[in-house]
Symmetry: C2
DNA sequence: GTGAAAGCGCTAACAA
DNA sequence: TTGTTAGCGCTTTCAC
């Protein structure tokens, strides 16, 4: 293995000079620097990560804590992870992958063994058990998601989509189009029960806007299966026959929903408008391109890294950063039908796949 | 920060004794070991990862190189990554996430800077540019996927599903049910062009079995959009009207396909049988539970880590391990219809969503 | 602008 | 069974 000492000898300088060429923390004369650089290239030298970590107490690694028990549809998580990784690389960092299931222990492990310089935590719950350890930690952490308490005050650093505004935006869009009765197909019940912040905040935004705009709102958590979606939608139309607007926040439910509406003979958007809260790609590739508030997974991952790197450089103060929701109108939504939609004979038949 | 020396002082022993308690590489008397353990707990000591890496030249980290440019549907990649991470943890390793886009340079970086003890490489292409560096590396690597040349001979270590057998299994299943004309909806053209091994191997298996069983086989690469699937399927039924068996190897195409068949009035499995090559979860949660050869993502990740860990322990020789395909029959496939399916008026209409 | 040298915290011979 | 000690390869003060 080629060491820094080898490079120094080859270039006829001292070890410290080589080190300073690498770190740029000292001005080096051009000739010396070039000579050293040639030696580095000639010998194929790479600094030993462990030695560097020991001497400088900086590892060049960011830990990313990612949920393990995501269900079937995980593009958002994946996109965040990849954005984190590429952004980190762009700043000279590598990414260590931790599973959320390790819980607070993983936080302590990273902190105690100095295996990473800081961490990014995904899938934050309203009352997350990792928060105490994250607050106590020396190393900076950035959360993707918001816990229940006001993050600013408690010294945490958060990045997230403004889901409250996103929910409101969906209702406003439909209300602007003349829809008076809206139903929401939400994430599976387990997500709400677990205390996942984004789901609760979206719902709050939906409700606030519904009250403000004077439109009726029905909320149904659903599993992402065809049968579950069919059951929920059928009930909605039975209980609120005049429903013409649908909001979906459940990636797995999007295609089942569209298939079902087609099956029931409800045209989108002529009879029913559908607005989704999901990644742009999902909305775009659906069998009917959907109007959607996009979940900017890439931006979230990127911003989280940028904040963390800034903190490591001693720059930024901590705080909460909410990304503004962006609604893109597509074929899935249109003006509310002027007359109540005709009765659908399918409403009385059973649905749910086969 | 608590160091090993602090623990030694607190317990009244030498540093090496503490080190040996931690590593278990030396027998320590019970009283001493317990006393030291109490000191460790009392002080909350954690070994410094960098110091350990420097002194022992072992980092306790496995690098995982993962494709970045996976399309929309990535459950398989995600599941492998998570299986790798949890299995690695179970063996005392952490996982460093690298993007495949870094290419051979990432391999050199890991090798040169000793940031990980070994690596796992996903998304291996038939003639992968990373192979030379992987072969030259001191540190062991395990590939998930097979390159073109016989891996055993060239000293690489591979884990993968036996996709050739998987393809054959699909055709055999349909042939056993009496189907005589089979069409394959494959991955997007780019996947084949890129030289991704699994797609080519599956196709080889499909073709071999088709010849062996004397059934007709049509192969169509498709993008995972409703429009693309609709176009491909419509063409298939026009060109081979008697087609009653469909094999899908394209996660994104599964739901569009089922929706389209429903739309065309082709009952599954009465008119058309559908067999998929995909993760069990995808097959199970489809709007029609599909007969499928499951891609055992979890097992692949687990086995890759186990092999790598064995190599790091100096045990195992390198070689290729192909996991046997397992076909699970579900509602999506049934006996071939005895008469040719009726003509579908939809065949003459245009499809493709909206 | 450059060099010398003292660690960083741990492991693993070598000694006892 | 335990202790002593020499590094591991790099960073960074201090000195010139």
């Amino acid at each position: 293995m080629v060491t820094l000492a080898d490079v120094a000898r080859h270039a006829g300088v001292s070890a410290s000079t080589v080190s300073y060429v690498l770190s740029g923390k000292r001005s080096i004369s051009a000739p010396t620097r070039e000579r050293i650089q040639r030696s580095i290239d000639a010998l194929g030298y790479r600094p030993h990560a462990g030695a560097r970590a020991l001497a400088s107490s900086r590892t060049g690694i960011l830990a990313l804590m990612m949920p393990l028990r995501t269900g079937l549809y995980v593009p958002v998580m994946m996109e965040i992870a990849m954005a984190v990784t590429t952004t980190a690389r762009a700043h000279g960092y590598d990414v260590l992958l931790l599973t959320g299931e390790e819980g607070p222990e993983a936080v302590r492990r990273v902190e105690g063994s100095a295996v990473a310089d800081g961490m990014i935590v995904m899938d934050v719950e309203l009352d997350d058990p990792r928060l105490p350890d994250l607050r106590a930690a020396e190393r900076p952490a950035v959360l993707i998601g918001l816990p229940a308490d006001t993050a600013d005050i408690t010294g945490l650093d958060c990045v997230d989509l403004d889901f409250t505004a996103a929910g409101a935006r969906c209702v406003d869009h439909l209300a602007d189009l003349g829809h008076r009765r809206i139903a929401v197909l939400g994430e599976p019940p387990a997500i709400y029960e677990r205390g996942t912040g984004y789901a609760a905040r979206t719902l709050a935004g939906l409700r606030e806007a519904a009250v403000r705009r004077g439109v009726g709102l029905l909320h149904r958590p659903v599993e992402g299966t065809y049968a579950a979606v069919a059951a929920a939608v059928t009930r909605v139309f039975e209980e609120r026959p005049g429903t013409t607007g649908l909001v979906v926040q459940n990636e797995a439910a999007v295609e089942p929903l569209l298939a079902l509406l087609r099956h029931q003979g409800r045209a989108v958007p002529e009879d029913v408008s559908v607005v989704a809260v999901c990644p742009d790609q999902v909305a775009l590739h659906a069998s009917v391109p959907l109007t959607a508030v996009s979940v900017p997974a890439r931006d979230m991952g990127r911003r989280a890294v940028e904040r963390l790197v800034a903190r490591l450089a001693g720059e930024a103060p901590r705080g909460t950063e909410l990304l503004a929701p962006l609604l893109t109108a597509r074929a899935g939504s249109g003006p509310a039908p002027r007359t109540a939609p005709r009765t659908h004979p399918e409403d009385r038949r059973g649905h749910g796949g086969r």
